[in-house]
């Protein structure tokens, strides 16, 4: 092979040119409901862009960004968890325990301290109950599944996924639910044939049964 000249200066070439630059002081993103926070150390948020979903994770003083083009998102999955219920039980037991101890204590100062601690746990319990059930969400692309830790409460998660589904549908088009179910079953059947019938799950129980066909609602309303 002929000799190669040294590389020209990189200033003439920048892949970053392809990235859209927002206006000064403005952001092209819309924040989605739901957030995660680990004290002051870590935070997570999701944002809707014009053509992609942006996942922002902050750890100490570093913000990390991950972008998912709407056209690349293959599926969204929400799984309800028992974490919120377990937390409620633990906080309830602590509130009741400290309350009972405060009730039976003769010392006036000790009583107020214990009742104060009980009130603190009761307040945490109330906040937990108001925030609603807990869940885990993930989006799936051709590369793999990506957890969405900011969507950890069912109510905001469903709202956020509804908004996200609306954008994805606008880009990819819509697939009727019965057709989606048939094609998933078809793929599962082919997979079972390939693997000799392994991992063929039983028919799932639907709880509660859908009262309205999903097609009657907008993508946002369905979630």
């Amino acid at each position: 092979m002929a000799s190669i000249d040294p590389l020209p200066p990189a200033a003439s070439f920048s892949v970053a040119e392809a990235a859209a630059t927002p206006g000064k002081g403005k952001t092209p993103y819309r924040r989605l409901p739901g957030r995660t926070a680990i004290l002051w150390i870590g935070r997570g948020r999701l944002y809707l862009g014009d053509d992609h979903l942006l996942k922002v994770e902050t750890f100490f003083f570093v913000e990390n960004y991950k972008r998912f083009a709407y056209g690349d998102i293959r599926s969204l999955l929400l799984r309800q968890t028992a974490r919120g219920m377990i937390l409620s039980v633990v906080l309830g037991v602590l509130a009741l325990g400290f309350g009972a101890l405060g009730w039976v204590t003769d010392n006036a100062a000790g009583r107020w301290i214990l009742l104060g601690i009980a009130a603190f746990f009761a307040a945490l319990l109330a906040v937990n109950l108001v925030r609603g059930g807990t869940c885990r969400c993930q989006l799936v692309t051709a590369i793999g599944a990506q957890p969405l830790p900011s969507l950890n409460r069912t109510r905001p998660a469903r709202r956020a996924l509804g908004l996200l589904a609306e954008r994805i549908t606008a880009v990819q088009g819509e697939i009727p639910s019965h057709e989606a179910a048939e094609r998933v079953d078809d793929a599962l059947r082919r997979y079972s044939e390939q693997t000799g019938g392994a991992r063929n799950p039983a028919k799932p129980e639907v709880v509660p049964p859908p009262t309205q066909t999903p097609e009657a609602k907008t993508p946002e309303e369905r979630w």
Binding site: A181, Q194, V207
Partner: protein, 214 residues
Amino acid sequence: MPPVSFAPQPLLVCDRCATILPGAVTNTFEPVACPGCRALLVAQVFPAFFRPIAVGAAAENVLSQEDASCFYHPAKKAVVPCTRCGRFLCALCDIDLGGNRHVCPGCVDAARRGPTGKQDAATDGLGVQRRVLYDSMALLIAALPLTLIFWWLSFFGVPVVLYLSIRYWNEPRRGDFPRTRVRFVIAALLAVLQIGGWITLGVYYYQRRTHGLD
């Protein structure tokens, strides 16, 4: 080389028990029990779910003397020259940027590093992927000595805060989420206050010593 679809089927999997979910679970928009772990799931699939997954191009071997070889893989057949440096590239090394632009990994790396040759912390050459919040850092360093537990941090913290505030003054205004510079302003004010405090303390002790009060 055209992309090739491979046999694996599009399958939806429960993230808890890894059971493959049947069609009845998908696009119902109501919680449905996972057949494996009974966890309640809501799943939606989109048309992209059924799109065949394309595998990356495979480089062909050099078969004859006439075949040009890849600069990075001499045993592989070159398919395109890099539009930036002109090096011949095999299908494996070719990075197609669209618009008939093909670059090699070396040029992408050079673009990432920029004209200075240094790795840019804020970008990876494909848009901003991470951002360091220098303003929050400066504010924390300036505020910690005020808790008195970390008063000693003031000696080292004040220069650091002033350096961060001056060096990265424009940083909060950049990126996809521009921030105000209020954190830098508060941090700098706190740093100036701490300098004032140290000077006052020094003058006080100096006067006590010169007037023989100690």
